[in-house]
Amino acid sequence: MSTLTLEVVAVDDHVPGIRTLTLARPDRSVLPSFTPGSHLVIQCAGGANAYSLTGDTTAPREYMVSVLECPQGRGGSRWIHQTLAVGDTVEAHLPRSAFAPVLRARRHLFVAAGIGITPMVSHLRSARRWGRDVRLLYIHRQGRDAYVDEIRKLTDHATIVTGRAAFQSELTTALACQPFGTHVYICGPSQFIDDVVATATASGWPPSRIHVEHFGGELAPGDPFEVELSSTGDVFTVEAGVSLLELLTSRGYAVPSLCHQGVCGECRLPVRSGTVLHRDLYLTEDERRDSMMACVSRASGRVELDL
């Protein structure tokens, strides 16, 4: 897969806990365009993290990402916050689109919490350029008002709140009165996404109108399980806190991987038998019958892989 070498050309720390990086090619030439809602996977020490692109989508010369510092995270955000400086270079993959606008929607309703605002920013830019009807509902913590000034420039239809009760009331009202043909886009912590999806579903929203963008979030270490490789009959134990991907890699098996968060779909493995505990955000229900994502998913008892 092709990668980009990008230089950090600006660092903005004015919102506490959130660092915004401006990245450009070392020769400042044009970067690939991207679909609104796309993310950039940046290589960090020991892995790769996905961050939503918030800048211009068409033939940009700069990519912008905003990174929330997660002290309990895997280290990627700490490295960006504490080590990365102007002039440094990072390796990134080409932008990936997994949260695109539905172009036949009559209206786009964006619901974001905290750093979950980032994919909405490129949506708002694109909507402004193409004259699409949008509504934004954004909840953030007091003082952590990332992108608020930008949003005010991009739309007159933003509702921005800092209190949970105010948010819930705005959300319930918004979901109850959207004109037929509206699609809703949700980004924030997992629990937030689950709550908004539940409210939407209770208001009669069908799954086809609900779009979600997950990010980060630590998964439980899980219980140990056994894995059997059908080609060799080898059996390994995957201990708690160790991923199947880590185990296979340490045993010398080359499994393609990228995000290590169950999002990108690279480390999909064929499953022959066993009870898989799916924890990814990638596979469909149908695909889950014979596949698993090695980076996050686990099993109960023994799982046989078609490898």
Binding site: Q178, F180, R209
Partner: protein, 188 residues
């Protein structure tokens, strides 16, 4: 040389009739066999369209399953159903569902109108009261012929007189089956 047996196997063709598994085509199952699913109860507002007397009974049954007050329209044909649909959708909000009952060919027409107005598949429930009549769109002169005919059967196009093969493809946009000539056109 191509291993034809293997090809048919991968395409899931019935090797005797050459008919594909209809689940893999654009022909809805309710346009092949009469169907009477339960009402979709996940919505908040409902429009119920019943085309013909057999459909009215289905609508009455659906009405008992739904909490709240569906808008019910008992109509005689697809055109009348489409007019009622247009009127209901003018002020609809997300959470709206269409419950549609009637002859399959009429339901295909109304579904096409609903899709054109922005409805999604998971907002439309269809019960078909009969499936023998089909509307065939002529790939050559673009007129449609409505007549009793089975899939893979033949009809005479009422627009151009060509003998049309009724293909297992339904246009979601037109709500009609694709028909194409069984004899290659000859040069004038």
């Amino acid at each position: 040389m191509v291993d034809t047996e293997a090809v048919y196997h991968t395409l899931d063709y019935d090797r005797v009739t050459m008919t594909p598994d209809l689940d893999l085509t654009s022909v809805p199952s309710w346009a092949v066999e009469p169907a009477c699913p339960r009402a979709d109860l996940t919505g908040r507002h409902y429009t119920m369209l019943a085309i013909g007397t057999d459909a009215a009974a289905i609508a009455a049954d659906w009405a008992t399953q739904i909490n709240g007050k569906p808008r019910v329209h008992l109509v005689t044909d697809a055109a009348e159903a489409c007019r009622a649909l247009d009127a209901d959708l003018a002020d609809a909000v997300v959470g709206w569902r269409l419950l549609l009952a009637g002859p399959a060919h009429a339901c295909l027409r109304v579904r096409a109108r609903a899709l054109e107005l922005g409805a999604a598949d998971d907002e439309i429930t269809v019960a078909s009261t009969e499936v023998s009549i089909r509307e065939i769109y002529c790939a050559h002169c673009r007129s449609t012929t409505t007549t009793p005919v089975s899939l893979t059967g033949q009809v005479t196009c009422r627009g151009c007189g060509r003998e049309l093969f009724v293909y297992y493809h339904v246009s979601r946009r037109l709500g009609a089956h694709l028909g194409f000539t069984t004899r290659a056109d000859t040069a004038p």
